[in-house]
């Protein structure tokens, strides 16, 4: 953390040196670097070899025979060009930022209305019909007997079931009609 703070401070000092008073050591060092390079430059003038006197003439003669290349035009547009394109990068970042804001806003809003516990995407409802008979074909003999006893004890239930069977036959739902027929037969036995 301290290191990060120091980096930030250094960055500010580097970008805006006017805002920070320079310590004496830095000023002295800068002066000495300037003097050193100035000194080297002056000394180099005396020891370094010189360019030939006819360099310009030679150059000009060479240039006469040189032709200027045509400006390079990019004909193909690669994937690298696309991802290195600043505009594309900024646009992508902007879209991502907007999406993030949108998701965060939506989440924060839904939290106020959605009161159910977090179910990690699984719908939890009390729809467990494991112990309730849904058909006469249930393999559980006890459930079958309970249902049949109940229907036998209720007057008019067979009449109602027959009406329902007819209705299913007329509307083309034969499987349901067949099931009801089996149920009525079982009651009458």
């Amino acid at each position: 953390m301290k290191n990060r703070f120091m980096n930030l401070k250094d960055w500010f000092r580097a970008q805006y040196p006017g805002l920070f008073p320079e310590d004496t050591d830095s000023v002295v060092l800068e002066n000495k670097i300037c003097s050193l390079f100035q000194h080297i430059k002056e000394k180099e003038d005396t020891i370094l070899p010189r360019m030939s006197n006819d360099f310009d003439v030679r150059m000009l003669n060479l240039l006469e025979s040189v032709s200027i290349d045509r400006p390079t035009e990019k004909t193909s547009f690669s994937f690298r060009d696309l991802i290195e394109n600043r505009t594309v990068q900024y646009s992508f970042s902007a879209v991502m930022a907007v999406s993030l804001v949108f998701v965060l806003l939506n989440r924060s809003q839904s939290e106020t209305t959605f009161t159910k516990n977090d179910s990690a995407g699984v719908v939890i409802e009390q729809n467990n019909y494991q112990y309730e008979p849904t058909s006469i074909d249930l393999s559980e003999p006890y459930q079958k007997r309970v249902l049949l006893d109940h229907l036998r004890s209720a007057p008019g239930s067979v009449y109602g079931l027959r009406e329902l069977e007819l209705y299913y036959e007329k509307t083309g739902r034969d499987a349901a009609a067949e099931e009801l027929h089996l149920l009525i037969e079982s009651i009458e036995r």
Binding site: D10, W11, R13, A14, Q15, P17, T24, D25, S26, V28, L29, E30, K32, I33, C34, S35, L36, F37, H39, I40, K41, K43, E44, I47, L48, P49, R50, M51, S52, F55, D56, R58, M59, L60, L62, L63, E64, V66, S67, I68, D69, R70, P71, T72
Partner: protein, 201 residues
């Protein structure tokens, strides 16, 4: 209609623009007028890297020809010197690598990025004072990018923008590197016994 080049009120940029127009139309004399002010500096840079006057002259010549050939790609907002400087540095590096491979002339230093350290070899000839030699030895200990930024700033006297162009980074990075280079240098001197009293004079 372009104003005459000799116009007193014309800025350097305006002169450069007119010269560039002429060069792009195929005028080599205009190119020589444009690059002449920089050839000695470029030659000096090449010599400091390849340590041979003839090689350095060849490099400058090649660099100027390359520059002329590719003048159509030169961006008007870029500086002529920084553009040519990069070509010279790259050509010098190429020559050094070629020599190293072919062992035509073994070099003392093996670093690819030779900037300030290339000048260290001249110390004896330069007859630097004890303090300057000491400072030079400490600069030589810095990373290449820090040595480079110090040289470009204090030896070449380039602006932050020009340095950024040469180092292919943004101005903020240049400022940051320069600051860090000086901080590291200060630290190196402060922790060294020999550096005692360095900041007192």
């Amino acid at each position: 209609m372009p104003r005459p080049l000799e116009g007193k009120n014309m800025t350097l940029r305006e002169k450069e623009k007119i010269l560039l127009q002429k060069i792009k139309a195929g005028d080599p004399t205009a190119y020589m007028t444009l690059v002449s002010p920089f050839r000695e500096r470029l030659f000096r840079k090449a010599v400091s890297m390849v340590k041979d006057g003839d090689d350095a002259e060849d490099i400058v010549q090649d660099a100027l020809i390359s520059g002329y050939k590719s003048i159509q790609n030169f961006r008007a907002e870029a500086g002529v010197y920084t553009w040519l400087y990069r070509i010279v540095v790259n050509k010098s590096k190429d020559l050094l690598a070629k020599k190293k491979r072919g062992r035509e002339k073994p070099m003392d230093d093996s670093g690819d990025n030779q900037f300030v350290d290339s000048r260290v070899g001249y110390e004896k000839k330069l007859e630097l004072s004890e303090e300057s030699s000491y400072l030079m030895s400490k600069i030589a200990l810095l990373e290449d990018s820090y040595k480079q930024v110090l040289e470009l700033r204090y030896f070449e006297n380039l602006s932050y923008n020009e340095i950024a162009e040469i180092m292919e980074c943004n101005v903020g990075t240049v400022k940051s590197r320069l600051f860090k280079a000086k901080e590291f240098l200060k630290h190196l001197i402060q922790k060294d016994e020999k550096g005692e009293g360095f900041f007192e004079k």
